[in-house]
Structure formats: structure tokens, C-alpha cells
Amino acid sequence: MRRSLLASAALAMMASAAHADMKVGVLMGFTGPIESLVPNIVAAAELAMKEATESGAFLGGKKVIPVRGDSTCVDAAAAQAAAERLITSDRVAAIMGADCSGVSIAVANNVAVPNGVVMVSPTATSPAITTLNDRGYFFRTCPSDARQGEVLAMVVTARGIKEIAVTYTNNDYGKGLADSFSNAFEAAGGKVALSAAHEDGKADYAAEVGALAATGVEHLAVFGYVDKGGKGIIQASLDAGAFDRFILADGMVGESLIQAIGEALDGSVATAPGSDSPNAKKFIAAAEKAGIKGDSPFAGEGYDAAALIILAAQAAGSTDRAAIQSKILEVSNAPGERIGPAELGKALELLAAGKAINYQGATDVELNGVGDSSSPYKEYEVREGKFTVVRIH
């Protein structure tokens, strides 16, 4: 009895493996501190999968099926359990995710890399990921904060700001960004009067602001989360009259900040990944047709992350995990025909015909040797209570 059960199970597995569709894990924080950002990113990623499936050109007509898992953004144990489930039980070919830097590192180190499964994160921006010992299995379509720090330092220096106080959320993201900004700013001749961490989720940030204000500088850089401590710091600064000009990073660019603070933010500057290239515009239009907000943060990165996995599988001619890993850099970089967003069908056909492609996608993806993207940043200034794009870096 047991033997026949085993045999039929094995048969069923072989049968499903024979004309199996490709499952792709979508490991994102459906709950947690960025739960409001995630739905758009996931929708964009699943849009790319749908596009590949509907083209009929993916590995001779196979489907790409998303399987969702909750990374929670902050709970490494929960994220690892979800990844474990995707890899061993759902048997995904690769994972689109995870989202926040801390859980992404944990999942890569403990689950994905040991199992030989590719991860492509759209949002994990910590510089620490660049030096992650990932055996080439971790990629990201968002740029590293090592670059955002440099861009921010350039923006700040260009505005004639010589001295600045920095406060960051006490985690991989905040610390990494604060370090890279401070280094770049000091290399450009600026002075960081104080760089202090803040904890998220406090009721009151008056003491933290008091310490930052005691430096006597006029500008405060806030590298935190818009719905958490970052907002509290800005509110407390304005309340005490300590600072009224802020330098913000991507975690702080959100409408909820404007709603909470209002016009007192005018004159503050911010950076976030993004561009206004033709490809970006094309993606926004394509996303809108599918009912997705394409210009919301990291939506383009989400689309590109999923697209890279699909194209790598096509280039390898199989949904084998190691084969996908070997092709990611090849499809994302030159040489080859440039592929924009909503052109996955064309790209799949080119690859099937044995031609090389250079995937550009929604964010002009270009991956370097360690799997980091070097896509551009938008510089925003708050004018009349609105984040207005003033320049692209």
C-alpha cells in the first residue's frame, strides 16, 4: 500500500514536472511597515508574468505563475519560513523579493543561497547587500544606497549647505544610508555635526530633536520611514522650532508626510530612485492600462525584477534554478537588442531564436558584476506642499 502510494506520488510529480509551468515566488511584505507600498510593486511584477504567459512564447508556451509569500519586512524568522515554504513546498524556480534589506539578507543567507535559488529584490537598497556572500544568487533592480548617499551629498553640496545633522532609523537601511551619505558629504568638504539613530514607533521624539538641535546647525537629514519615526522627528523639530529645512531620502517620500505636516515642509529636498526616461513613461502608460499606479515607488523595479527572472529562464531554455542564475547578468546587460517595458513577447522570441538581448525595462536596468543596479535618481523639492521633481541624477 505504502509503496503504491509512493509510486503514484512520484508519478504525479514527474507528470507535473514534464509540462510544468514556471512558478515564481513573490516574497514581499504584504503586512508590516511598508504594507501600503507592496500591493503596487506586486501588481507590477505579476503584470510582467502575465505578459510573458500571454505572449505564448515563454519556453514553448509555458505559463509563469506567481506564488505569494509574506516577508513582513521586519520579522526575519517569518520571512525565512515563508521562503522555505516557497522553495521546498511550492518548488518555485526563483524568487522575486524580498523587500526590506534586513529580511532580504536573512532569507538570502539562510534559505535561498544554500538552496541555490535566485532572488531578485526590487527594493532592498542597503549597501551591505553589495558585499553579501551570495555566490551570485542575489540580484536587485533598485540601486544601492551607497549611490543614493552620494547623490544626496551632491544635491546638498550644490545647495551650498556646509554643515548638517543626520538622524536615521536604527536598522540596516537607515545605518547604511547614513554612513554612505556622511562619507560622501565629508569627502565633498561638508561637515556632519551629529549622526544619531532614532527608534521607530516612539510617541515622542522631542529628546532626539533636542540633541540634534544642540549642534546649532540649520539643516537636518532624515533617513527614516514616512509612516514611522521619520515623521515624528520632523513634527518634533517643527514643534520646537529646532529645524525647518529637511533633507529626505526615499523612505520619506510619501504623500502621507505632506498630509501630516503640510506647507511647513516647503523648501525641503529629497531623492528617490526613478527617472523620466522614455522607458519609464512607457511603463507608466502600460501599467495604467492594467489598472496599476506605475509611478508609485518601486513599481518599475518590481516589474523589472520579475521580467529578469523570466528572460533568464528563456535564455537558459529551462526553468532549472542554477540555469536561471547563470543567465541573469547576460539578459540584463549589453550586448544585445534593447528591450523596453511591455516588450517581453518580443524579447522571448529573440531569445528563442538564439539572439542576445539587453533588457532595459521600466528603470533602465544595468546590473554590475555583484548584481547591483545603477539606475538613476530623482531629486525632489517640496513646493507649495507637493513633492516636485526638479532634476534627474
Binding site: 514607533g201 515622542d204 522631542a206 529628546a207 532626539e208 533636542g210 540633541a211 544642540a214 520646537a240 522650532g241
Partner: protein, 338 residues
């Protein structure tokens, strides 16, 4: 007075004195509730912080209702109108907790420690209820004017370099605390029920023999403690922000305040509240700028001149607690409810 001295004092007022007075009033109101329950019912009530969260939650829900109907108090926050509803709900919950949990142990004359542990259970239940009803996130419910004086206005008004800002919520906290404390002392000193409560606290058996009705005293105690909890919680939420778990963190400063003042002593709770608040803020404030105004150039500090990093703010009350228990375990004011 030289301008530098005025600047230094304004700076200190803005970052230390004004915030500490508001925070101290909030702690004092909370500690009063803790101390009353300890003095009369004879146990440390760990559920007091979550009682505050519960009261504030009801106030928030009622405030949203009022706001959606277009009711407002103009410059004052609408939450003041909703406060009676919050207090009433908190009274009902605490009386229910007493009837279902604490009465059982009281009738058995259980040790105070047993009742305190039972109150931890009540704390967890209340904590869960609040999270289920309103969720764990940050909720904002303040409206009306934000500032009494804002730093920028103060600067242009006085021509000083330093600004002083006083928020409406801070002024309101102090005003409400003064009213609530005066009413409480009047009640305890002048009314028959208040005298009965003091008698019961002094000597339970003697009070019973003299015809004091114990159930009535217990009920009055919970009604007062719950009203204070709802008021303190709402003022804290208005002044800072409402998140259910921050009220759990308030438990430590509140107990420190109650014990420093001499537990069971209403006056002590108020003094303790201000002592804890001023220590927390004054010890973690960096005096760099302050000293720069006062000292001659060559003595200017390079560092922040900060005694403790702001990360250690919560531990200040813990240290105060330990020091008081070691050197003056009875607290600043001795004895039972005066």
C-alpha cells in the same frame, strides 16, 4: 540681563522646562491612579497603563464621530468633548475587571502580590482588546490650534536668537491636571465619601466597624482611578501621539513617580511625577548650546555636553526607582493617604 543669559534661559525653557512640565503632569495624573489603588485596595495595579490606552481609544473613537458630524471646539481639541465618554467607558471596564477578577482575591484576602499578578493578566486582556478594536498603529486625533506661541513668532516678537514654543496641548495638559488634582483633593478632604476612603485606607477593620461600606469605597476608588487614567491617557495622546504599546512603556515612569513620592500618597505621586519627568529630560538634554551662551569662548564645549544618550531616557526612571528603594524606601512623603 545680558542677552546671552536670556537666550540660554529661553533655550532651556523650550527644550527642558516646558516639555518636562507637560510630561510631568501626564505622569503625575497616571501615578495618582496607581497610588490610590495601592493605598486603598492594597495592590500594585499593572493594568493601569492599558487602562489609559483603553480610555484614550474610546476618546479617539468618540472624537472621530464628533469630527465627522462637524462638531468642533474651535481652537481647543475636540477630544475634550469626548473625554467624558472615554472616562465613562474606562469606569465601566475597571468596575467589570474588579467584579470578575479582583473581588475574588479581595474576598479571599489574598496577598498583594497575588493581586498584582492578576492585574498583569487584566493588562494583557485590555492590551489585546485595544489592539483588536483600534489596531496597533499610530492614530492622530488632535485638531484645533497647534501652538499657543510658536518658535518663529517668539523670535520675531522678542528679537532673541532662541525661540520658545508652547503647544496648546501642553498648556491644556497643565490646566486639566490642576483642575483634576484640586477636585481630587477637595473630594478626599471634604466629602463624606472621601473621608470614608481615607479611613478605609488607614485601617480597614476599624473603618468597617465604624460603618464604612467597603463595596462603596472600592467602587469610588475605581471610578476615580479610571477617570484619572482616561484623562491622563488622552492628554498624553494629544500631546504626543497615540499608539497602544506606548502606554505600557509609561507604566515604569508612573510607578517610579508613585514610589518616589511614597506609594499611597497622592501629594507624593504629583511630586514624583515632576521629579521623574524633569530627570528624564534634563539628564538626556545636551547642554552644548546652553553652555556656549554662558561660558567665555575658550571654555566652549566641543562635544554635546550630554550626560546620558537619549536612548537611555526610559532607564532614568528605573535608576530613580532603585535609588529611592535603597535609601528611602518609604518615599519622599511618608504614611498613608493624608
Amino acid at each position: 540681563m545680558p542677552v546671552d543669559l536670556v537666550n540660554a534661559l529661553v533655550l532651556l525653557a523650550n527644550f527642558v522646562v516646558v516639555p518636562a512640565i507637560a510630561y510631568g503632569s501626564q505622569i503625575a495624573l497616571g501615578a495618582l491612579g496607581v497610588t490610590l489603588v495601592y493605598g486603598i485596595l492594597r495592590f500594585a495595579n499593572f493594568s493601569h497603563g492599558d487602562l489609559m490606552a483603553f480610555g484614550t481609544m474610546v476618546v479617539i473613537l468618540a472624537t472621530w464621530q464628533l469630527q465627522s458630524r462637524g462638531v468642533s471646539l474651535g481652537l481647543l481639541p475636540t477630544a475634550l468633548l469626548a473625554l467624558p465618554a472615554g472616562a465613562a467607558a474606562t469606569i465601566i471596564v475597571s468596575l467589570a475587571a474588579d467584579r470578575t477578577v479582583f473581588r475574588f482575591y479581595r474576598l479571599k484576602r489574598s496577598a498583594p502580590m497575588v493581586m498584582s499578578i492578576a492585574s498583569v493578566g487584566v493588562m494583557f486582556v485590555l492590551n489585546g482588546v485595544v489592539r483588536i478594536i483600534i489596531g496597533p498603529d499610530d492614530r492622530s486625533f488632535s485638531d484645533g490650534a497647534r501652538y499657543l506661541i510658536n518658535a518663529r513668532e517668539f523670535r520675531s516678537l522678542t528679537g532673541l536668537e532662541e525661540g520658545l514654543s508652547v503647544r496648546v496641548s501642553q498648556a491644556l495638559t497643565v490646566a486639566v491636571a490642576v483642575v483634576a488634582v484640586s477636585a481630587l483633593f477637595w473630594f478626599l478632604q471634604r466629602t463624606r465619601a472621601g473621608k470614608a476612603m481615607r479611613a478605609y485606607s488607614d485601617n480597614e477593620d476599624l473603618a468597617l466597624l465604624s460603618g464604612v461600606e467597603p463595596d462603596r469605597v472600592v467602587r469610588m476608588t475605581w471610578i476615580i482611578a479610571a477617570s484619572l487614567a482616561a484623562t491622563a491617557g488622552t492628554l498624553y495622546g494629544l500631546d504626543k501621539s497615540f499608539q497602544p504599546f506606548t502606554y505600557l512603556q509609561l507604566l515604569l515612569p508612573m510607578f517610579a513617580a508613585a514610589i518616589v513620592g511614597g506609594i499611597g500618597q497622592p501629594l507624593g505621586a504629583i511630586a514624583g511625577g515632576f521629579l521623574v519627568a524633569f530627570s528624564e529630560i534634563a539628564l538626556t538634554y545636551p547642554y552644548r548650546k546652553f553652555l556656549r551662551y554662558l561660558l567665555p569662548e575658550e571654555l566652549h564645549p566641543d562635544g554635546l555636553a550630554q550626560l546620558l544618550s537619549t536612548d537611555y531616557k526610559l532607564s532614568v526612571s528605573f535608576v530613580i526607582l532603585v535609588v529611592v528603594l535603597l535609601w528611602r524606601p518609604t518615599g519622599l512623603f511618608r504614611g498613608r493617604i493624608a
